[in-house]
């Protein structure tokens, strides 16, 4: 009761209902100096207040993306509409830089350059689609991977019940404390990161004749977009708490979807998880994301019958696949890695999950 009433914790709405922009002074000062529009920065402090680290994150992203003003109304100039129609792209998700967010020609041109958002299905059949920058990159990378790195594959079934329970347990607490909805993927990231710590060789790359063990464990998470897959990585995931992983993962996926990732965030991964758990895919293999040496593919959970202490019980099983670069990693090591990961996931209360 002797603390001064904290304005930072009070409601952030002003009477007219508009959101007040909240940032700590250092952020405002830097923003003013560097002319950064703080309304574009997502704050992660209490009540969404923008902290120096948020600005730091925004600044690097921004340098890659250029200024984009999000807009609500889809007001567009005559010429912008025409250009969009000509290019076959939708104005729906586009940002406008004109007065009151009006979409101008330049905005459309920029959207085209970044990779278009196609009109839903309209006029697609029988058309030749130009490859977007992203598609081109993916194509090149995948071919490179398959042709240069000899892949070997390992599979195992992981019992998910304990992990699901654990998630149920902590879910409400996390929502209350951190305002995040923890996902099963967050556990995967954490588990993989910790297991990589045990088996650094899987966190390596081949450089000429040498195997370089990467100094940081940055776990990439494949995100499916309409125009392809993108793999933003969570930096030093082994040192992060579950909550932090969850926050960062949410932010990265959000930004991946709105195409606001910066290049380094995609490039910095040292190991990849590709999860198709939300699709009806039980099992698949994944191609390495070069120069990484390992990729984990995770399928959908399915019900399996199992015998436990003489009784038949139902178990949720997810099938895990590990693809590794055989030039770097031997089978035994890969198997041990997968086993350790499985153990960790099945006994979440034991370890640090």
């Amino acid at each position: 009761m002797h603390l001064t009433k904290d304005r930072a914790m009070s409601k952030s709405n002003v009477p007219d209902g508009s959101e007040v922009l909240r940032a700590v002074p250092l952020v405002r000062w830097v923003a003013k100096k560097e002319r950064i529009d703080l309304s574009l920065v997502k704050g992660t402090g209490p009540e969404g207040v923008i902290l120096p680290k948020d600005l730091e994150r925004f600044r690097t992203t921004q340098s890659a993306m250029g200024t984009v003003v999000p807009t609500e109304k889809r007001s567009a100039s005559s010429l912008a509409r025409k250009l969009a129609t000509k290019k076959g792209i939708s104005l729906e998700k586009m940002s406008g830089t004109g007065n009151r967010g009006r979409i101008m020609m330049a905005d459309v041109a920029r959207a085209v350059e970044k990779g278009a958002i196609f009109l839903d299905g309209q006029g697609m059949f029988g058309q030749t689609l130009p490859m977007t920058q992203m598609r081109k990159a993916i194509a090149k990378r995948m071919s490179l991977s398959v042709f240069t790195a000899p892949h070997i594959y390992f599979f195992t079934d992981v019992e998910m019940d304990a992990l699901n329970r654990r998630r149920e347990e902590i879910l409400p607490d996390f929502e209350r404390k951190f305002r995040i909805r923890i996902s099963i993927n967050d556990f995967f990231v954490k588990a993989v990161a910790l297991t990589l710590g045990e088996f650094p060789i899987l966190n390596s790359r081949l450089q000429g004749e040498e195997i370089y063990i990467m100094p940081e464990i940055n776990v990439g998470l494949a995100v499916a977009l309409e125009e392809g897959l993108i793999v933003p990585a969570i930096l030093r995931a082994d040192r992060l708490s579950l909550a932090e992983i969850s926050q960062i993962r949410t932010d990265l996926v959000d930004r991946a979807r709105t195409r606001k990732l910066k290049w380094e965030e995609i490039e910095r991964g040292t190991f990849t998880i590709s999860s198709l758990a939300q699709f009806d895919i039980t099992f698949f293999t994944a191609i390495l994301n070069p120069p990484q040496s390992g990729i984990l593919s995770i399928g959908k959970e399915t019900d399996h019958l199992a015998l436990r202490e003489g009784k038949v019980v139902t178990k949720k099983i997810a099938r895990f696949g590990l693809s590794v670069d055989h030039r770097v990693i031997d089978g035994v090591l890969a198997a041990k890695f997968l086993e350790s990961l499985k153990h960790r996931l099945e006994n979440p209360s034991l370890g640090s999950l």
């Binding site: 009761m1 002797h2 603390l3 001064t4 904290d6 304005r7 930072a8 914790m9 700590v24 002074p25 250092l26 952020v27 000062w29 402090g45 209490p46 207040v49 902290l51 120096p52």
Partner: protein, 326 residues
Amino acid sequence: MRELTYVQAINEALKQNLERDERVFLMGEDIGKYGGIYQVTAGLLDKFGPQRVIDTPISESGFVGAAIGAAMTGMRPVVEVMFIDFTTCAMDMIVNQMAKIHYMFGGKGKVPLVLRANLGAGRGTGAQHSQSFHAFFLHIPGLFVVVPSTPHEAKGLLNTAILNENPVLFLEHKKLLPLTGNVPEEYYTIPFGKADFKRMGGDMTIVATHAMVHRSLNVAEMFAKEGIEIEILDPRTLKPLDKESIIESVKKTGRLIVADEGPVTCGVASEISAMIAEEAIEYLRAPILRVGSPDAPVPTSPLLEKAYIPDEDDLIQAVNKMKAFL
């Protein structure tokens, strides 16, 4: 090194000053035979006699005024007002006379006087014997205000106060009186206006005074286990205030909590917060938090008093709030 209590350290300083300088004399209510309400002057009457250790009538205006007159005419009185609460009975003498004489007479004359009093809650003495309104005196140019937090500082700062040519309010904290610590036997001084870094850390700064220093240190140790390093800065004198050190620390950590036992409204914490807002706002990574007493009189009942006193719990709450900005 030898350990003394806060009370003994002050007693020793008084004794050494009485020995060193014949112009020094003590005055106050019950400081003679009784040895002072908290025994700070114990034994001094016997050693120096009633000419130099004067028991006064219960007459704060009268004896504080007399001390001023004596100081103006060549003496160096050290006056004890039994509780800071009683200074209100001598406010004209402190505010209109003592603080202003040198200035309003254009630099003629001076009032080298030390006014000692204790402050702080925690001894169940209720609303009229437990206040921490030292911020009053910061509002009066012409006074120095000293708030020692350890026995070592109590002695060194009191020595400096007695040497000083200006009126000095030397404020002791009730809860610190039994505190022990290393105190050198020899006479030494600690300069005014020089804050002490009680603990170094990079994540946040707590500027703390008096008992809040010790409470903050306890809390800092707790959070250190979480990997949060709190810097603790004790200004030691509120006037003159070591702004530079505070600013320096805030520049480093970007997060500031000010902890002072006075009521927060217009208090020491408010002043330091405002100073930082004016001079170093661009370094702040979080809102400034103030920890202090609530805007209520000090209650007597132990439970209420405990709830009243800004303590570790309040500091923990503040640090937790601040943590969200890390």
